[in-house]
């Protein structure tokens, strides 16, 4: 945490709205990204990110300044998205579903004027994550986009470390299977896509 951030947080704790706005500006991108990965569309992500900041501000007295503010904030956002996914029971794509049209552009949501240019990669990411249960999805997002260790994920999602490991294992298998399904569907639709670069990387 830098000094400015500590000052803003101290002032925000004392009820200074403007001070917390600096925090919002500093963290809007990671929080919005997390919500976007979790919820799959810009409208819901915007709403969830706003709500996460609001909750963080309301409960700022519960934040322990000796720990990372980013971790605390992202944990709030993760929990909010998990709850939201569970409540809304957003339709999940079955990997067995023959008709699953994952290449359709996502619903950008009614607000705000978010013009999200979705390229193929973002769409694939979205569709891959969509096969995961909310908490598994959060674990994957925190691990692969925020470089969270198992310990940090466990702390953020209120899980044990072994539960995080098994959830990530299960998630990786589901993601790999979903990837295979996507690949075979793309091959069926585009027989001449030899120029497409396959994502071949060693296991990690």
């Amino acid at each position: 945490m830098n000094d400015n951030e500590a000052i803003w947080l101290a002032r925000a704790r004392a009820g200074d709205d403007d001070a917390f706005t600096h925090i919002v500006e500093a963290y809007q991108k990671p929080v919005f990204s997390l919500c976007y990965r979790m919820l799959g569309n810009a409208g819901d992500a915007e709403d969830a990110a706003q709500e996460a900041f609001l909750r963080a501000y309301r409960h700022l007295n519960r934040y322990d300044p000796n720990r990372s503010f980013a971790t605390w904030l992202l944990s709030i956002a993760s929990h909010y998205c998990i709850d939201r996914l569970r409540k809304k029971r957003l339709p999940s794509f079955s990997i067995d579903n023959e008709a699953h049209d994952w290449w359709q552009p996502p619903d950008p949501g009614p607000t705000p004027e978010a013009v999200m240019v979705m390229d193929e990669k973002q769409l694939r990411v979205r569709e891959l994550l969509d096969v995961l249960a909310p908490k598994d999805r959060a674990a994957v997002v925190l691990h692969y986009w925020y470089d969270y260790s198992y310990e940090e994920i466990a702390e953020s999602l209120a899980l044990s470390e072994s539960a995080v490991k098994s959830r990530l294992y299960r998630a990786r298998r589901a993601l790999a299977e979903s990837w295979q399904t996507q690949e075979s569907q793309m091959e069926m639709l585009e027989p001449n896509n030899a120029e497409r670069t396959p994502y071949e990387t060693p296991a990690f």
Binding site: D17, L54, L128, Y144, L168, A176, Y199
Partner: protein
């Protein structure tokens, strides 16, 4: 073909010791299933790495401030709602208590009404007893007074009273006719 522990090694992102790495390599050369799993997971991981963080639409912080203001107002409104409810409940309680008190008072009044009635009945009985005593006294007097004087004595007394009355009436009449009096 047995795919364990190779599947686990592919999907648990933990560093393998050299012997494990070599065994995995050897298995992958002969197992198409594990090869596909490795390629697929590699594809997913590569895609994740290439997918950058996303920016929200511009003006996010301004929208947050607007939402915060709305939230403050919402909190105030909900506080007012609560206050109204509490006031309403207090009033309802007060009315209930008053109702109960009124009921008890009415009940007590009925109770004291019977007491009052009893008192009045007692007083009336006492009064009637007193009247009865006086009646008896009067009867005794009527019976005894005539015997106190001889008949001539009663005649003289009656004459004196008649004369006195006559003098009193005449003096009143004279006074009424005096001049200067309307």
């Amino acid at each position: 073909m047995k795919h364990q522990p190779f599947e686990n090694w592919l999907l648990f992102d933990e560093t393998l010791i050299p012997d494990q790495a070599q065994a995995l390599d050897e298995h992958l050369q002969v197992c198409e299933h594990c090869q596909t799993l490795r390629q697929s997971w590699g594809g997913v991981a590569g895609l994740f790495r290439e997918s950058p963080d996303l920016d929200p639409a511009s003006g996010f912080a301004d929208r947050w401030q607007a939402r915060l203001k709305q939230d403050h107002q919402g909190v105030l409104a909900s506080r007012h709602r609560w206050q109204s409810w509490i006031t309403l409940i207090l009033i309802a309680n007060a009315v209930s208590i008053l109702g109960v008190l009124l009921g008890m008072t009415v009940f007590n009044t009925f109770d004291s009404l019977t007491e009052l009635l009893l008192v009045w009945v007692y007083r009336l009985t006492s009064l009637l007893t007193v009247i009865n005593i006086f009646q008896n006294l009067l009867a005794i007097m009527i019976r005894t007074i005539p015997g106190l004087l001889p008949p001539s004595g009663w005649a003289i007394l009656a004459a004196i009273i008649s004369a006195g009355s006559l003098v009193w009436v005449l003096s009143i009449a004279r006074l009424a006719r005096m001049p200067g009096r309307a």
